[in-house]
């Protein structure tokens, strides 16, 4: 062990993708001597699929990562080439930011940040083996024999890793986030290649080592569309998709920054019946249909052959042509992933308006990889099987850059907390989309690559992107991941927002300007297609409306915070765009938000009821057999978590509650 080949770190991160970068950076920032391993420098913060960050749900994750001191938002703000706020026709709770990132600059900037980070080494070597302190052979055999989702036993503690050339690195904690590299296999029609994404070398030895150690390894699959040369496409036949005029950055640190960049457009086109005919005629040549692929793919990201064959009545499917960066002439064809042979791909892509003469520089492919059953993880992302091993990203069965980065950040924080003997950071479902994501994974498990969606969150009105810092920055500060600078900014923003809300709740204007203001916004500025009778009625109502506070006025749908400036005075403060949104939302949605908070309070009861990790579920009378097994396997920390396990019914939860109450009574009479 103490040979000259042994190097010593406090935290080791395997993989340098979006999860690995967050884990490595946060561990080093929290004071740990940290090493990140990648098989190829190119893989650092690589975007092997679409060149965009954010979108519905995902944009919320990036904000939360940022609020907790992570890097993804900051790095996107440095490198985006188009920015768009989605869902603006809906309410602010589901406004979602999405940016087209410059793939190469994103990678370059992240690489620079890692290089500049103190205590952080980036090592280019393939990790082939875990070093486990005195492994429990019986437990390994038990785990190997167990069915998926059941009976995960602790086999020991990880003390380091070995690379393929035999070098050993010791570590107090290890974070694994291997993405699609672990046991990677690429499929194009009949062609099967052992490979990582984008033709980079895969990591096969570690996957085998995990199997030997009895980890519940399984295969998932995902796919990516073709890349085409920019100049080979005909943009006159496609519809231009521009970025927003007003750019909102991801990071709270960039709140008041002005962005003056030339945004690059994306392009919209559609498939047609000819495209579909070619695909259907060649369906059996697709790797997905040939039976070569055993891995499970995501339902929300189907290949074009999947879409065409499952929804045969649809005459067209849309696709977006997205630039991959400023210094590259590659274009990404969003919505058109495939595992059909190259010649078939060529045939069907060229039926699409604008793509007739497309030059394909990389064909679409499907990729299959090793991942672990997330039910083998604790809520803090530590493995139940191997102590001090933390897991993140696609390795845990998720999909997407943002999902990976979220877990990487939490896994990194918790690796440090574990080393320091502190409680892990476990975010609740009413605190963050990150909480929803991780709770879903470790409590319900997943049968397909997991993607976040706003509809997975019960408390959508609370989990907005404008208030991510309100929800998380204090927590991040307390847990050690948030810098003093960010924390001070957060305090300042909170103070400003709260003061403004209080001011608006009491401020009024004189009755004449008030009525004139309302008339202008609700009647004079009404849309052209508005019902004239309705407007007339409003006009009459308006004349009778009494004087209200600014907070009351803001509750009217047609009035925005910016509008109020017209009747305000010098007491109106200068606010940043997030601050304005937060003020507006806090007042506009006051009632709904309170309703959700009540819901949370009701359920908080269940979340506060702790379940001991050593509880013997078999001894609890009335639990159904399935519930007993599931609870014994997953070992939820609270009754709330237990209630979300599939196979645990409300009746079982009642039994648990009755049991806990009995326990409490017994212990209090002792």
């Amino acid at each position: 062990m103490d040979s000259k080949n042994t190097h010593s770190y406090e935290v080791i991160v395997i993989g340098a993708g979006h999860a690995g970068c967050e884990a490595g950076l946060v561990a080093a920032r929290m004071g740990m001597k940290t090493a990140m391993f990648c098989t190829d420098l190119e893989s650092v913060a690589m975007m092997p699929c679409n060149p965009s960050i954010g979108g519905t749900g995902k944009g919320h994750l990036v904000r939360e990562i940022d609020a907790l001191g992570g890097e993804m938002g900051v790095n996107t703000d440095k490198t985006f080439i188009q920015s768009k706020m989605l869902n603006t026709s809906k309410g602010p709770a589901v406004h979602s930011l999405r940016a087209q990132a410059d793939k190469h600059r994103y990678h370059d900037e992240m690489l620079r940040t890692i290089g500049e980070q103190e205590r952080l080494d980036l090592i280019c070597a393939e990790v082939s083996e875990f070093i486990v302190d005195d492994p429990d052979r019986a437990a390994i055999e038990q785990n190997s024999a167990a069915e998926t989702g059941t009976g995960y036993k602790r086999i020991g503690r990880i003390t380091g890793i070995r690379t393929s050339d035999g070098t050993e690195y010791s570590a107090d904690a290890v974070v694994i986030c291997t993405g699609t590299f672990l046991g990677g296999k690429i499929f194009i029609g009949d062609d099967v290649t052992v490979s990582g994404p984008a033709g980079l070398p895969p990591a096969c030895a570690l996957g085998e080592n995990l199997r030997e150690l009895g980890f519940p390894v399984r295969r998932f699959k995902t796919g990516t569309p073709a890349r085409m040369l920019r100049d080979s496409l005909d943009y006159s036949k496609m519809k231009e998709q521009k970025g927003d005029d007003k750019i909102v950055p991801f990071s709270f640190l960039n709140e008041d920054k002005e962005y003056d960049i030339d945004q690059i457009s994306c392009w919209l086109s559609y498939t047609n019946e000819e495209t579909h005919r070619i695909i259907l005629d060649n369906l059996e040549k697709s790797a997905m249909y040939s039976g070569n692929i055993v891995g499970v793919g995501p339902r929300y990201c189907p290949s074009i052959e999947d879409k065409v064959s499952r929804f045969r009545d649809r005459k067209r499917h849309q696709l977006f042509v997205e630039p991959e960066g400023l210094d590259t002439d590659w274009m990404y064809i969003q919505g058109m992933s495939s595992s059909l042979p190259e010649d078939v791909q060529h045939d069907f892509y060229s039926t699409i308006p604008g793509l007739e003469h497309a030059e394909i520089v990389r064909p679409a492919y499907a990729i299959e990889y090793d991942c672990v059953d997330p039910l083998s993880l604790k809520p803090g992302l530590e493995s139940k099987i191997l102590e001090n091993l933390f897991c993140a990203g696609q390795f845990n069965g998720s999909s997407g850059y943002e999902e990976a980065a979220s877990q990487g950040l939490i896994a990194g924080i918790n690796a440090v907390r574990k080393i320091r003997g502190l409680e892990p950071l476990v975010l609740r479902r009413d605190q963050a989309y990150i909480g929803v994501l991780i709770d879903d994974l470790v409590t319900k498990g997943t049968n397909e690559p997991y993607r976040i969606m706003t509809s997975r969150a019960e408390y959508r009105l609370l989990l907005r992107q404008d208030n991510a810092d309100r929800r998380l920055t204090q927590i991040g500060y307390d847990y050690g991941s948030v810098s003093e600078e960010r924390y001070q900014r957060y305090l300042e923003k909170s103070r400003k927002v709260d003061e403004e809300v209080t001011r608006l709740r009491s401020r009024k204007t004189d009755i004449d300007s008030f009525r004139a203001f309302l008339l202008k916004h609700e009647c004079d500025l009404a849309p052209e297609d508005a019902d004239p009778e309705l407007i007339e009625r409003k006009r009459r109502d308006m004349a009778e409306t009494g004087n209200q506070t600014f907070a009351d006025i803001l509750r009217r749908p047609a009035i925005s915070y910016d509008d109020l400036a017209e009747i305000d005075d010098e007491s109106r403060p200068q606010l940043g765009s997030n601050e304005k949104t937060e003020v507006e939302v806090m007042l506009k949605y006051d009632g709904y938000i309170r309703k959700q908070i009540n819901e949370v309070e009701k359920l908080r009861n269940l979340e506060n009821k702790k379940l001991s990790e050593s509880l013997d579920y078999n001894s609890i009378r009335g639990l159904r057999l399935e519930a007993r097994q599931k609870l014994s396997d997953i070992r939820p920390l609270t009754v709330g978590q237990a209630s979300r396990i599939s196979g645990v019914s409300p009746a079982d939860i009642n039994v648990l509650l009755i049991y806990l109450e009995k326990e409490m009574r017994t212990s209090s009479t002792l």
Binding site: R314, M453, Y589
Partner: protein
Amino acid sequence: MNDTITAISSAPGEAGIGIVKVSGPGCKDVMKRLMVRFPEEIEPRHAYLSRVSRNAADPEAEIIDEAIFLFMEGPHSYTGEDVLEIQAHGSNTGLKNILQAVLDSEVEGVRMAEPGEFTKLAFLNGKMDLSQAEAVIDIIKAKTDLSLSIAESQSAGRLGDKIREIRETMLDVLAQMAVDIDYPDEDEDFAGDYDGTALVSQLRWVLNDIEELLDTASIGRIAREGVRVVIAGKPNAGKSSLMNALLGEGRVIVTDVPGTTRDTVEESVSIGGVPIVLVDTAGLRDTEDKVEKIGIERTAQAMASADLIILVLDGSQDLDDKDDTVLEYIEKMNNEHLLVVINKNDLGITITEEDVKEKLPGASVVSTSLVGGGVPEAVKAVADAVTEMYDIGRLNAREMNIVTNERHVRMLRNAEMNINEAITMIQNGDPMEVIELSAHYAYDSLGNIIGEEVGDEVLDRVFSKFCLGK
């Protein structure tokens, strides 16, 4: 560790056969203790005839009965645990002896079952859904044939099926909303911007179904609890006399001082086979007396919840302003089931049936003297009125899904309220994520009725119905 619970599970009263039920791990031990002839091996669902002894040490010494022992092995039993049924002669004393013998058997953890505990176990062990379990409790409590038939159909899952059907539609609505929020980029021809009109019409459809179920709730309640009859009238008109006449005994104090019966009094009674709940009210009149005012408010509340209102008028006096106050209240109630009793016709009648019909066109009227031998006449009028209502309920109950359970009514009302909110918000152009919230609360309330767990069904529906991009 687990308890073994026991109770007499047949209805009280003399009957041919009575049953003592035992559930829990100790069933076999109970058999061993009680059976004089204990077979070497017990086969489940096999009837063993044996004499019953309460002295295991010397069985022949204390024989208490002869009974059939039927053992059902868990989980294939009513409660999902081991169950033993001891079928003995149906006398109360005999059954109590057997029950006592079970409790005295010294089998570990044996105890009396709490009311409804067998059914609770069956629910907890996943043998039935919540609406079925509640229906079983209703069957156990059912007082009349009619309520039994409702409870039976609910137990067979008919209400559950209806709720599931409504939830299916709601699931489509929620999936549509989820796509609208989570896939803003989707092709507008297929998902994209939501079609408010279509959503509203789907929600209206659901609302209609829920309202139909709610309409049955009063029929259901009549069947379960009886017709709720409220007796109203100005002080000293003879309300309490009528109530006593109907009860056949002097339970309510009758005096000549107006305003004695200040609180409402409820009594259950069966008239011509129809169960009714009689509510006597404080004399209704405008008053400054605070105590009496509370009584009047209660009366108004009682009338609001009445199936049948009986107005008692003092026929020996002209209608005065006190009567007018009462009449005003009754008009406000807008209850079509109204019976007016003109009392004290022995004291010289001044109010005629025509006078009343003029004021209350829909009412049935009877003129009598409650203290002067007119009781049978009054009782008959009441009996006729309640029987008619009851028969309508009975007729409908056979054909319809009827909601009888208070909790179900509450949940349905909650769903109704939330769907109404959602519709209003769609029409106001409120943001989708807020509308979705109301729709989701409605969906959860409906799920609550059948006790279904909430899972990923919305997302499953999204992916099976919509072809989505990324």
